[in-house]
Amino acid sequence: MNIELNDVELVLQIGAGDHAAEAELFRRMAPRIRLYGLRHLRNESAAEDLTQMVMITTLESLRARRLREPEKLAAFVLGTCRMTVMDLRRSTQRKERILEKFGTDLLKPASFSMPPLDHDRLERCVQNLRERERSVVVMTFYDEQTGADVANFLGVSEPNLRVIRHRAIHDLRKCMEGAA
């Protein structure tokens, strides 16, 4: 399979019945859909379910040539992600039905490895942040406190808090990359 195909070409080939193009679409889109799932479902297993369901819906549509504007593949997948997240929150039963229909061969979990993290270095980098930035980063990431909670604690506005948080994240990343 020529992996240099752009999205439009991929859509057209799937519509023409090219199974290799389907595999390439899965390889390309599944990790992206899984990230969306992690963000909205906060659960790896649920994100994997979402990936399978969105890929099935997308493949069904492309096989049936229902995507009128192939250049809008990403927008179509995003819309499908949103609808499927709502579905997943309503019920998990549909998954079993569609897995029966499609089988599991095509829908094996996508390769999706997270980058490694040097925890000792992270601890040093967090400790090296300015006091204000350290508190903001740790309290925001821990339990994902809202901006309003942290802004209220600091006695600053939410836009000011955003500035502090962004500066802290940049400093933290620089330190983790060894540039600070």
């Binding site: 999205d7 889109m29 990790p31 992206r32 859909i33 990230l35 969306y36 992690l38 963000r39 990403a74 927008a75 997948v77 995003l78 992600c81 997270m114 980058p115 490694p116 993290l117 925890h119 992270l122 601890e123 967090v126 400790q127 300015r130 006091e131 204000r132 350290r134 508190s135 903001v136 980063v137 740790v138 309290m139 925001t140 990431f141 821990y142 339990d143 994902e144 406190q145 809202t146 901006g147 909670d149 942290v150 604690f153 600091l154 006695g155 955003r162 948080r165 962004h166 994240i169 940049h170 933290l172 990343r173 983790m176």
Partner: protein, 193 residues
Amino acid sequence: MNCMNPIDAAVLADYWLALLSSSEEDALELHLLDCDDCGQRLREMIVLADGVRKLAREGSVRMIVSDVFLQRAAEGGVKVREYLVPVGGSVECTVTAEDNILIGRLTANLAGADRVDICICNENGVEQLRMPDIPVHSGTTSIACQESIRIMKAAPSSKMIMKLVTFDDKGSEQTLGEYAFNHTRSMPGPGAW
């Protein structure tokens, strides 16, 4: 693939934390479904966020924390050990193997203080370390200072003095309060550093 419009790491963090407006989120998600470079950087941010969360749960970072943070930590099953110390006061303290977070709560009147530092001193009052410009505001009546529990679990019995200081118009240091912590080691280990 090289992204022509890479998304700022801090914006990716805001996305992960659900702090973007819906229109910002819409645009970013559309980009992420078309860009593996930014997807990879989002993965790095997720890992970083998880790492910071782990550090917070371990209580291994020295920092100022809010009451909301402590409340949520306790609700999440984290064991918080807290010592309240009045201005000029002292407290007998320790830490056990079961504790996850250690807090020294310093009572203080910060009215009129623009910048506040915490000086961590030895038993003779000699400054060993300073936490400059701590995140507090003038209406605060107490400051929750988290000490690294990993360090304190290893620490021998010792006395530590914390000083809260501010600065007048001329930049001269003014002490707002002193607080003594008489730490007794309750876990096995060496008698001194």
